[in-house]
Structure formats: structure tokens, C-alpha cells
């Protein structure tokens, strides 16, 4: 047995305080969106008497389970504005938070395999450019130059006819993003309270004035829900409904390999997306399991389907070994766009409905949710994304319009 003493534990990035009796603002959910909300409440609005309540451990839900892709090449104006704002914040955040969370702008290819794919893709490139989002259309030979390991030969089942390319897209190390936000929040006085599950809401008439938790009642000036797949459960406890269905979404990684994959590749048609983490794992994902579920796991045939697509597109992956698969619970809205805004309960705001694409929007979700909570009014970026759109019919129908995997 070694007699060498263990090194000192490095400095903690945040405190673990007990909850105070009340706060000016309480954010429910300590994932990326909750931490970013608290960060911008403090940074942009000077609110520091804030708590982030997390039922498990910090960033242990979808923030630890996503495939870390960041891009802003959405078709519709409202979405492009929201995601491009996020991308611009991502470009500044490593310096602002003084934390190198390995944000790597290695670009994203969205492959086209059919004539209809080609038409939709070129339309999206044009829409992106009009919205100030960097985008190019590449033919199959140009795609092969960007990503040489991709099978661009014409003799596969769904040949690559071309791709859209967003050079400023990329990946980041998701857990480090959460830690960066958490450290910055903590430094501004935000209480991050883990293992504190919200079980109910305290109301005074139509207004929320606090939350019941597994660590007692906590008073709140305003409350923001940033609970992704569990948003419906919280909304029900608060007495209203959300147009959300929770589904398992699976992802997987291979064992560690030397760098072979220089960019991010997404294919909506054969349905897989793949990148390579800095550490070396091939990171892959696809679509949700079809059924509603809160189990943080899905069915194997979904994995099998995406692996078939991945091996067809990347023959070099055929001998790779799977390291692990997992699932998260994603909150899918009817139009595949987020819901950020007021709820039927005064003082209670919601940020949900990001479905399978919330990680990339972490900064702008936090920015706009903080604005909405602090002022009571939506920010111009999230004004189109309120709950009322399901009554007015003004959907932001990325599901139907963009044909882009979220």
C-alpha cells in the first residue's frame, strides 16, 4: 500500500449552501439552461439573491447526455435568430467565463441523399445567408474534402448528393460548460442547491410565491421552470398543462480512437449524427424512441438502426467498439420549437420544449429566460416562442419546414 498521501482536493468550483427561507428568483432545474438562466439573471439584471434548485446533482440530466453539437443553421427566421444569438454567445463565453470548455468550431455537414433533400438544403442555405448565418452548399466531391472518411461513392443505398456546411458550428465539452456557468453563478452569489426536488408550488391567489421542496418550503419572488423532460410534471403540480410529450432520446459513444473525424456530420434521411469528442470517442445519436417515457432508457432497435446508417456512411466505423449507450428524457413540443415565456400562473415562467436540440441553445435560452423572469416580458428573441402560439396558430414549425434533425 502506498504511503504517499493523496493530493489536496482542488478548489471547489461552487459552494453547497443550505437553502435560505426565500429568494428573489428561484430557478427549478440545475442543468445547462437553469444555470445559464441564473447566470444571466445576475449578469444582465443584477439579481443575485437567486437559487437554482436541482433534484439530483448539477447537470446530471440532459446536460450530461447530449451529443454536444452546436449550430445555428435553422430554416425559419425566429429559430435562426434564437440559435445564431446563442452561437455568438458561445464564441465569447470561454473568455467571459474564463473557462476553456473545449468549444471547437469544426463545422457541421447536413447531408442530402435525395433530390428533395437537395432542394430543402439549398433553400435552407439561402435562408441562412439572409439571416446572417454562415452556410454553404457543397457537392459530393467538396463534402469528401471536408470529411474524407465519409463514403461519398455513388454505390451505397442512399448516396451523398451533397451537404450544407456551416463552418462556425461545432462541439463543446458539455459538463465543462455546466461547471463554467456554475462557477460564475456561485461567484456572483447564486445559491446552487443540489438534491433539492421541487414537489409543489405555494400560491397567493393567482400568483406563485414559493416552492415546496424535499428540503422545505422556499419563498420566491418569481419562479422559472427549466426542467426539460420533467416540465409537464412540474406544470401539473402548478395547475396548468403544457403541450409537451416526453420521449427517451438515446446516444452512444465508441471506445477512444485517434482523431479520424474532423467535423460534425448529420444525416436526417438515413438518420444518424456523428462527431468525435476531443478525448477520442465517436459520439453518435439519432431520433427519439416513439413512445412517451421517463425512464432515461430506450429500445435497442433504435440504436441498431442508427448504427446501420453510421456504418454505411462511415465504413471506417465498422470495426469500432461500442463503449456505452444511454438515454435522456426530451421534451418535444408540437412544432419542435421551444416554449419560453409566462404561464397561466403569475410569477411562474417556463423554458421547455427544446426537444432534442436544447444544448446548442443553452446561452440564448438562459439569456431570454432571464430577461422574461426579470422584466415579466419576453425578450424580442423569445416573443414568437410563447405558449399562446398554440392558441393563435402562429406556430414556429421547424418540424414541418426545416426537415433538419434536432
Amino acid at each position: 500500500m502506498s504511503t504517499t498521501p493523496l493530493p489536496e482536493h482542488p478548489a471547489w468550483l461552487w459552494r453547497n449552501p443550505d437553502p435560505k427561507p426565500s429568494y428573489d428568483a428561484v430557478v427549478v432545474g440545475g442543468g445547462g439552461h437553469g444555470l445559464a438562466t441564473a447566470y444571466y439573471l445576475a449578469r444582465n439584471h443584477g439579481l443575485t439573491n437567486i437559487a437554482v434548485l436541482e433534484k439530483g446533482w448539477l447537470a446530471g440530466g440532459n446536460m450530461a447526455r447530449n451529443t454536444t453539437i452546436i449550430r445555428s443553421n435553422y430554416l425559419l427566421d425566429q429559430s435562426a435568430a434564437m440559435y445564431e444569438f446563442a452561437l455568438r454567445l458561445w464564441e465569447d463565453l470561454p473568455a467571459e467565463l474564463d473557462y476553456d470548455f473545449l468549444f471547437s468550431q469544426r463545422g457541421v455537414l447536413n447531408l442530402a441523399h435525395t433530390l428533395q433533400d437537395v432542394r430543402e438544403s439549398t433553400r435552407r442555405v439561402n435562408a441562412n445567408r439572409l439571416n446572417g448565418v454562415d452556410a454553404e452548399w457543397l457537392d459530393a466531391d467538396e463534402v469528401a474534402k471536408v470529411c474524407p472518411i465519409l463514403n461519398t461513392s455513388p454505390d451505397i443505398r442512399y448516396p451523398v448528393l451533397g451537404a450544407t456546411f456551416q463552418p462556425r458550428a461545432g462541439i463543446a465539452k458539455h459538463d465543462h460548460v455546466a461547471w463554467a456557468f456554475a462557477r460564475a453563478c456561485d461567484a456572483m452569489g447564486v445559491d446552487i442547491i443540489q438534491h433539492c426536488e421541487v414537489t409543489g408550488f405555494v400560491r397567493d391567489g393567482d400568483r406563485v410565491v414559493g416552492v415546496e421542496t424535499t428540503r422545505g418550503r422556499i419563498g420566491a419572488g418569481v419562479v422559472g421552470l427549466t426542467a426539460a423532460g420533467h416540465s409537464s410534471v412540474l406544470a401539473e403540480a402548478a395547475g396548468f398543462r403544457l403541450p409537451i410529450q416526453s420521449h427517451p432520446l438515446q446516444a452512444l459513444v465508441s471506445e477512444l480512437y485517434e482523431p479520424v473525424h474532423p467535423t460534425v456530420v448529420m444525416s436526417n434521411h438515413v438518420h444518424v449524427y456523428a462527431s468525435q469528442a476531443h478525448k477520442g470517442e465517436l459520439v453518435m445519436g439519432a431520433g427519439v424512441d416513439s413512445y412517451n417515457g421517463y425512464g432515461q432508457r430506450g429500445s435497442f432497435h433504435v440504436i441498431e438502426h442508427q448504427m446501420a446508417a453510421a456504418v454505411e456512411l462511415f465504413p471506417i466505423f465498422a470495426r469500432a467498439h461500442l463503449l456505452r449507450t444511454w438515454g435522456g428524457i426530451v421534451d418535444v413540443s408540437p412544432d419542435a420549437s421551444p416554449i419560453i415565456g409566462p404561464t397561466p400562473v403569475d410569477g411562474l415562467f417556463v423554458n421547455c420544449g427544446w426537444g432534442t436540440g436544447g444544448f446548442k441553445a443553452t446561452p440564448s435560452a438562459g439569456w431570454t429566460m432571464a430577461h422574461t423572469m426579470a422584466t415579466g416580458e419576453p425578450h424580442p428573441l423569445n416573443r414568437p416562442f410563447g405558449l399562446e402560439r398554440f392558441t393563435t396558430g402562429a406556430l414556429v414549425d421547424e418540424h414541418g419546414a426545416a426537415a433538419v434533425a434536432h
Partner: protein, 102 residues
């Protein structure tokens, strides 16, 4: 992978089925009389239960008939399957094993 029991064909692999979301959502009797809020509720709002949930499935590569199931969305355990038109079985009731068609 889930094993689902079609009320007509018996137990089959999940890949034979198509999911249909919440069961027992009736089309409005007088759609023209609905307010915008009521219409939004019918079109876009469904229960998102964490726990036993009554939902529709179609045996799309088998007999192609729809049926209902009560499934726990936390564990994915199928608690009951029943034919469309039948009421949702009360939880705790013993659900008779479905008989395959002769």
C-alpha cells in the same frame, strides 16, 4: 425492446407496432362551437403522465388494427392491453390474457 401484446395477434416485438399517443381523446362533438382555447387544447395538448398512461398502438406490420394499452412511462411495463371502445381497465384489476384469433 418492449414486448407488446396485440389483443388479436398475441405478444409481438415492439418493432411491429406504431405509437399513437394518448388514448381516449375524443374528437369534439361540435367542433364549430369550440373557442380558440378549446381547439388548441384538442389539437396540441395531451397528458404527459409520469406513471401508468393509457395510450394507443397500431399493430402496423401485423393485423394493422389499433388497440389501447396502459403502460408505466417510468418502467415501460405494460400493465394492460384492451380493444378500442373498451373502457380503460382499473389499475390493480387482473387483466385477462388476450386470446389470439383462431
Amino acid at each position: 425492446m418492449m414486448l407488446l401484446t396485440c389483443p388479436w395477434c398475441g405478444p409481438r416485438n415492439e418493432t411491429e407496432f406504431h405509437y399513437g399517443g394518448q388514448a381516449h381523446v375524443a374528437y369534439p362533438e361540435r367542433p364549430a362551437d369550440l373557442t380558440d382555447e378549446e381547439w388548441a387544447e384538442f389539437l396540441f395538448f395531451r397528458d404527459n403522465t409520469r406513471g401508468p398512461f393509457a395510450e394507443r398502438w397500431a399493430h402496423s406490420v401485423g393485423c394493422r388494427r389499433w388497440f389501447n394499452a396502459v403502460r408505466d412511462t417510468r418502467t415501460y411495463e405494460v400493465l394492460a392491453v384492451y380493444r378500442p371502445g373498451d373502457p380503460r381497465p382499473a389499475l390493480g384489476d387482473a387483466v385477462p390474457a388476450p386470446t389470439p384469433a383462431p
